[in-house]
Structures are given as structure tokens and as C-alpha cells.
């Protein structure tokens, strides 16, 4: 082997090899590492942990674990049943309404099919809905509409809109243009174009996302009760307040099982529509 490569090789032989770093500049790399370290030290130091309190808590923690192994479904059976039913009802109603409203808003928020003014309006609705936490919306709505499941239902519907419309709009924006254009090229009206060109591509995904959202809505419905917006959360909160860990454990177990069932169902349904 003679030629220019020999000199290249000669230069390399005997030299240390180091993996090239992700961040090329040494300065930046060391700066970032140092910054991260300083942040971590400051952050950890600013957390006050009262270890004696934690130590006392271990006892209660053990009690809670025991409660999980031996949950009490019966003592507060009525409360649990009513709270659960209210949670489920809120989930169902909010999912139906939320999904129904997110479809037009999702269409409006897709730049490739909506005119600019509509696009901007729909995008801002989505932005507001996504920026506001469910629990904060619930607080405000409870202040306005009073305690009860209506506030919870409205909260979940509003959150569903932000979640679904955004993903739906992204799906439409990224869909196969050629296929949609082919339908447009046949000279069809806008509604027909949506119906034949857009819908078939987007529907399976929409169904998948909707089911996923039902799952999220149920999980969220479990906390809305903390601020008085209905559902099982109120019962759960009371159980914690009274240190009735076995009842709390029962409620949590029910939530986990329902979420598991929903996840299983969503897997089955998604497999069928795709």
C-alpha cells in the first residue's frame, strides 16, 4: 500500500483515539456540563427534607402498602360507587362532546385545507386549551358554575378539544397530498373533497386518538373532585384526610383496573381499524 493514504495512516498510528463528542466546541461542552452541575447542586440544596419526618412516615408508608394488599371496598361502598359512576359519566359525556367539537376545529386548524382567518382562530383555541391545566380550568369553572359534575364535564370537554384538534390538524397536514389532490382533480366540491380525499386517510388515526383520549379523560376525572368538580376524586381526598388508607387503596385499585381495561380495549379497537 503506497500513496497518499500511507502518510495519513502514519500520522494516525500511535495516537490516542477519542470518540468525537456530540458537542464539538470544548468551551460549550464544559460550560454546559459545569452549568448543569451547578444547577443540580443548588437545586438539591434548596430542597428541604426533614428526614425525621420521612422516617416517621415510613410507618404510614408500610401501612399503606398493607392497605393495598388488603383494600376495603365495603365500608364506603356507596361513596365509591357513586363517585365512580360520576367519573365514568363525566368521561363519557365529555369525550363525546369534546370529540365532536374537535373535528371541525381540527379541520380548521389544518393549514392545507382551512383559510387563514379560520386557521388562526382554531389554532388559538387549541393553544389556550393546551396551555391551561385541567385542574386550573376546573377551579375556574367551579368558581363560575358552582360545585358538581357540570364543571368537570366542561373541563374535560375543553381539554379534549385542545388535545384532539391539534393531533388531528397535524395528521391532516401530513397526510398524503397526492391522494387528496387526485380527488380534488376530479372537480369535486369542498365537502366532497373532505369526504373522499381527506376522511379515509384520517379516520383510523382519529379513532385511535379518541380512544386514547377517553383513557386520559378517565384518569383526569379522578382528580377533578379535589377541587369540587365531581367524580371519584372527592371520595379519594376524604379517604386520605381521614387516613382511611384501605378505602383509598380500593379506589386506586379500581382506577388502575379500569385504565388497564381501557388500554386493552383501545389496543383491540386500534388493531381493528388499521
Amino acid at each position: 500500500m503506497t500513496g497518499p493514504t500511507v502518510s495519513e495512516l502514519d500520522v494516525l498510528i500511535g495516537n490516542k483515539w477519542k470518540k468525537p463528542s456530540l458537542i464539538k466546541s470544548d468551551w460549550l461542552r464544559w460550560g454546559l456540563t459545569l452549568g448543569a452541575l451547578i444547577y443540580l447542586v443548588l437545586a438539591i440544596n434548596s430542597v428541604e427534607v426533614s428526614w425525621s419526618r420521612v422516617y416517621e412516615g415510613l410507618d404510614r408508608g408500610a401501612k399503606f402498602v398493607k392497605a393495598f394488599l388488603n383494600p376495603d371496598f365495603t365500608t364506603r361502598a356507596t361513596d365509591i360507587r357513586e363517585g365512580m359512576i360520576e367519573s365514568i359519566i363525566m368521561t363519557i359525556a365529555a369525550s363525546v362532546v369534546g370529540i365532536a367539537i374537535s373535528i371541525p376545529i381540527g379541520l380548521g386548524a389544518a393549514r392545507n385545507i382551512a383559510p387563514l382567518p379560520v386557521y388562526l382562530v382554531c389554532r388559538s383555541i387549541i393553544a389556550v386549551s393546551r396551555a391551561l391545566q385541567e385542574i386550573i380550568v376546573a377551579i375556574l369553572l367551579v368558581a363560575i358554575f358552582g360545585f358538581g359534575p357540570l364543571a368537570g364535564f366542561l373541563t374535560l370537554s375543553f381539554a379534549t378539544i385542545g388535545f384532539l384538534s391539534k393531533l388531528l390538524a397535524e395528521e391532516i397536514e401530513s397526510m398524503d397530498k397526492v391522494q387528496a389532490e387526485a380527488v380534488k382533480a376530479t372537480g369535486s366540491r369542498w365537502s366532497q373533497w373532505i369526504n373522499y380525499g381527506v376522511q379515509p386517510q384520517v379516520i383510523p388515526r382519529l379513532i385511535g386518538l379518541s380512544i386514547y383520549r377517553v383513557d386520559i379523560n378517565f384518569r383526569e376525572s379522578a382528580i377533578l373532585g379535589l377541587v369540587g368538580a365531581g367524580g371519584i376524586g372527592a371520595t379519594l381526598n376524604t379517604a386520605f384526610d381521614r387516613y382511611e388508607y384501605d378505602t383509598a387503596a380500593a379506589i386506586l385499585l379500581i382506577i388502575i383496573v379500569i385504565v388497564m381495561v381501557l388500554e386493552y380495549l383501545s389496543g383491540v379497537i386500534r388493531a381493528r381499524v388499521q
Binding site: 500511535g14 490516542k16 470518540k19
Partner: protein, 263 residues
């Protein structure tokens, strides 16, 4: 140096991929394994370094029986068998150099390899090998930035840096264009003779096999049906292995191409 004794592999699905294969390969011999798709070529190769566990039978490498080794001893013996894959099997998000050096994993402790602190002799060797295959300037590129032919060269370096006695090569050229295929085959055969390595090369392209190796073994439905020099591989024999086809035509066509390429 390598000896297969009544090697049988039956997959869980019930497929009998190997039916009592007997094969012996002397030091430094390069052997081409041909046969139709599903004949069991990949299975045979993988049973040797036990990426696939053989159902029964024995494999000896320089007198050491591989089939009964425990995991530590198996790893030590695997270092002596370099493997080259059809789809290159480079770890795509690592650099070329890391891919080559990964061939030394069997010799280097965990922390050294984790921190990329390989002995200088390994690094130098890696550079030499990369230079030998003409890729030394690519050493710090990520493997997924390379072309197919280049990746396969890196794959060859990874196998050779193990300092193996035997190369197990599974369809090295099946994902490459005809010209690159020939270059890669030539490279493998040259390197084997330079270093006195034995090799088993699975290959679909009979013409290519005949061009480069001294011994060809034909596998059909998990059994060896041919074992001889390339000249013995007559069209009749090929029909026996592969089924009916116009063999003369394909072979001549490829030879024409080769002449064209040489001009």
C-alpha cells in the same frame, strides 16, 4: 480446524433446517456454501458460533467442542470466529471506529470498553485495517453515513480485528451491486489468504463463488448434496441443488460483465 459432526437443527416451529450435517474444513481454506433459499445456510453458520443453538451434534474448533461450552468459554471461542453479515449489521449510531473496535470487546474489560479506552495497539490495528480497506479517512464518521459497500468493508474490519482463525460470512454481497459485490468478495478472499484464515461464505451467486473459492459445498433442504472444486459444479449438479434453470446463460452473462469491467 473446523469440524461439524452430525449437526442437527430443528426450530421450535418444527422446521428441520439442518439434517445431520458433516463437514470438515482445514486451516486456511475458503469455502463457499451455496443452496436455494431456505436450504439452511444461515442456520449452519449461526450454529457454529451458537447465535442459534444446535439441537444436536457437535462442532469442533481446533479440537475444542463448542456445543457444550458455558457462556464464558463460549465468549472466548467466539473471539476466534469473525462474522460478516448480509445487511452489514453495523451499529448505525456508532462511529466507524467504534464499530471496528467493537470487534475487540471479547478481549477488553467492561469499563474500558464502556469508556472507549481501548489499548493503543487495538486502535493502531483498527487504523491499519481501515487503511487496508481504504476507509481510514472515514474513521470518525457515523456508520449510517456510509454506502453499502463501505459498510461491508467496516464489517470486514470488525471481524478481522478479532484476530480470528475462521470467518463466518453470511451472504456478504446480497445487498450490493454486481461490481461492489465482486470487489467485496475479492477483498475477503485476499484477506483470508494474507492471514491464513479459513472461511465459510454463504453465497447465492454461484458464478461469483466459482470465481473466487477453491471449494464449494451445496446445501439443499438441510443436507449437503455437493462438496467439491468449482469445476465439478456442472449444470446438472446445479439443477440438482437449485432445480431447473438455464445455468449456462447466467454464468456466461456474468463472465462477460467481468471482462467488460476489466477493460
Amino acid at each position: 480446524m473446523l469440524k461439524l459432526d452430525k449437526l442437527v437443527k430443528t426450530y421450535n416451529t418444527g422446521d428441520q433446517a439442518l439434517k445431520s450435517v458433516e463437514l470438515e474444513i482445514p486451516q486456511g481454506q475458503v469455502l463457499a456454501l451455496i443452496g436455494p433459499s431456505g436450504a439452511g445456510k444461515s442456520t449452519l453458520i449461526r450454529c457454529i458460533n451458537r447465535l442459534v443453538e444446535p439441537t444436536s451434534g457437535k462442532v469442533y474448533l481446533d479440537g475444542i467442542e463448542l456445543t457444550t461450552l458455558g457462556s464464558g468459554a463460549l465468549r472466548r471461542e467466539r473471539r476466534r470466529m469473525g462474522m460478516i453479515f448480509q445487511e452489514y449489521a453495523l451499529v448505525e449510531r456508532l462511529t466507524v471506529m467504534e464499530n471496528v473496535l467493537s470487534g475487540r470487546l471479547g478481549y477488553v474489560g467492561f469499563w474500558r470498553s464502556f469508556l472507549r479506552r481501548f489499548p493503543q495497539s487495538d486502535v493502531d490495528n483498527a487504523y491499519r485495517l481501515l487503511d487496508r480497506v481504504g476507509l481510514v479517512h472515514m474513521a470518525d464518521k457515523r456508520a449510517d453515513e456510509l454506502s453499502g459497500g463501505q459498510r461491508q468493508r467496516v464489517g470486514i474490519c470488525r471481524a478481522l480485528i478479532q484476530d480470528p482463525a475462521l470467518l463466518l460470512v453470511d451472504e456478504p454481497t446480497a445487498s450490493l451491486d454486481p461490481k461492489t459485490s465482486r470487489q467485496i468478495m475479492r477483498l475477503i478472499v485476499e484477506l483470508c489468504s494474507e492471514r491464513g484464515l479459513a472461511a465459510i461464505i454463504n453465497i447465492h451467486d454461484v458464478a461469483l463463488a466459482k470465481m473466487f473459492v477453491q471449494r464449494i459445498v451445496g446445501l439443499e433442504s438441510g443436507a449437503i448434496v455437493f462438496d467439491g472444486v468449482p469445476d465439478d459444479l456442472t449444470p446438472d449438479m446445479l439443477t440438482h441443488i437449485y432445480g431447473e434453470e438455464d445455468w449456462e446463460a447466467t454464468i456466461e452473462k456474468v463472465e462477460d460483465e467481468e471482462q467488460e469491467a476489466a477493460q
